[in-house]
Amino acid sequence: MSAPVIAEGMFDCRKAFAEELIALARQDQRIVAVANDSVGSSNLGAFQKEFPDRLINVGIAEQNMVGVAAGLANGGFVPFVCCASPFLTGRALEQIKADCAYNGYHVVLCGMSPGMAYGELGPTHHSIEDLAWMRAINDLTVMVPADPAQTRGAIRWALHAKGPVFLRIGRFGVPAVTPEDASFEAGRIYELRPGRDVTLIATGTMVSRALEAAGQLAAEGIDARVLNASTIKPLDTAMVLKAAQETRGIVTAEEAVVEGGLGAAVAEFTAQHHPVRMRILGVTGFAPTGDTAFLLDHFGLNAAGLAKAARQILSH
């Protein structure tokens, strides 16, 4: 599979993830990593080298993996379960709900390489339902850091969380959208660019594309606000309400199905509290063959797609 392009100024969030996890594990003996034969693809090689006993590779057995993590949490450890997102969330969905969330265990579920990151490997490997599935589970915090700095912040926050956390860790190259020293809090949507006409709310890989779209719109005299939804659940309703009140409509964008994810969360809230025009951008249908960049373009998940949706909102 052709690796997503990591050009100058583009980052693979798995790298920041592994570095931060190792740094924290040096100070905090409770941290263990749990994996499913995916030590390499989760970028845990260095962790395994430094803490061989604290990497529990259960083999290709994701349901067992999450159950084991629940037991480790029961025993006082903080397990970071690292696994390709489609198999972590799909295969072990019930373990995530019943064993982790319902028990209230502090397990950090790290869905690696989500969305279209496994482009040509096809729809079985595209993790596009994970946001909907995870968002439907009670008491689970769902975070999607947009860049390396946010990835580090999200892990630090997750380490001290009280209950289960789902962290979506991207593999597709992204630029930095937040400064290294920016604070990170779960439950917040961050404003990256002010704007009065329309609001673009994006998550993960879509954030930099939303900023790009705002640039294109500015050239046409359209003032677009850009928000980074690095937490999907709980939703930062104050930020959404402000956007609904202060701009003429909201475009959401996510590398996931349009059912049940970020767009749905925003729509569920605005429908009840401040109805606005909305366009929900995401993946529709099983993808054809192609690499990640090709597929994102195929589904209109790019600056042009976001800008077009914003214009549609304003043309009414």
Binding site: M1, S2, D37, S38, V39, G40, S41, N57, V58, G59, I60, A61, E62, Q63, N64, P86, F87, G90, R91, Y118, E120, L121, G122, P123, T124, H125, P288, T289, G290, D291, F294
Partner: protein, 292 residues
């Protein structure tokens, strides 16, 4: 049709005819076809820059034996109701399957170079909706055996005599769904079902025994009520001997001992080649070694 494609088509047609009609020549013919499959696997992966070369090369002889001798199929009618069912549960080895399907006449050999390219029907994992000869979409490990159990129950319920074959990875056996299916098949005495495990002793990141031990594998399946056989998974004569016989009372579990990266000196038995892509020079060397 390109000259190369015409040649493989011809070779395949001939092999198919002779393999089914004459028991004696079959192993030699199958070995010849398997060599073509390996050349196609290497070329396709080299061209695409992606693929799971190690497992493709370990499963090649098993797939060749099935598709060119054992399975009752008609490439002109991929959905023929009485066909034998075949499921490649280790779907990451799609390139080996595509190469076999091309040689057997299910798909145009010209499609192979499109593997992984935008809008190709040949995805990294097989897709039943797009590729004739693919019985079930696979890719997430641990799905093939339960589907195969369903196929075998369907044959019994409908009073048909087609058989069901499924090829599993040994690392894949770590998924619990296999054991649920093993229990169901043993309980029901699904004699028309044959599961073949590509026992190359490696999974993605390490050896199976170092990760989550499978041994004693034969005893486990016997305990679940299966008729267990062990063969050299690169020996076509040995494979024919266990795969040809008519169904018995119990489901059949065939442990096919293989080598990951079989046939290429610098890949064979090395975990690094699970999905590494050979460089241009390595590809030339690999083709030369396999072509010999």
């Amino acid at each position: 049709m390109t000259q190369a494609a015409a040649t493989i088509r011809q070779l395949a047609g001939r092999a198919q005819e002779i393999a089914r009609s004459s028991g004696e020549d079959a192993p030699a013919l199958l070995a010849g076809i398997a060599r073509e499959v390996r050349l196609n696997v290497l070329t396709t992966i080299g061209e695409a820059g992606m693929g799971h070369v190690g497992g493709d090369l370990s499963v090649t002889d098993i797939l060749t034996t099935l598709f060119f001798d054992v399975l009752k199929l008609d490439p002109a009618r991929p959905d023929w109701a009485d066909r034998d069912r075949f499921i490649l549960s280790k779907g990451h080895c799609a390139v080996a399957l595509y190469s076999v399907l091309a040689l057997r006449g299910f798909i145009e050999p010209e499609l192979l170079p499109t593997f992984g390219k935008p809008l190709s029907v040949l995805n990294g994992h097989p897709n039943r909706r797009k590729v004739p000869g693919v019985e079930a979409n696979t890719g997430p490990l641990g799905h093939g055996l339960p589907i195969a159990v369903g196929c075998a129950i369907a044959a019994r319920l409908s009073g048909r005599d087609w058989r069901t074959f499924v090829v599993l990875g040994d690392g894949e056996l770590q998924e619990g769904s296999n054991w649920e299916a093993a229990m169901a098949a043993g309980h029901r005495g699904l004699g028309s079902l044959t599961a073949i495990v590509d026992r190359n002793r490696f999974q993605q990141g390490a050896g199976t025994e170092a990760t989550n031990r499978l041994e004693p594998l034969a005893d486990k399946w016997r305990a679940f009520g299966w008729d267990v056989h062990e063969v050299d998974g690169h020996d076509h004569a040995a494979l024919l001997e266990v795969l040809r016989p008519a169904p018995g009372e119990r489901p059949r579990f065939v442990i096919a001992h293989t080598f990951k990266g079989k046939g290429v000196s610098f890949m064979q038995d090395l975990v690094d080649w699970h999905h590494k892509v050979p460089s241009a020079d390595q590809l030339q060397q690999a083709l030369a070694e396999v072509g010999r």
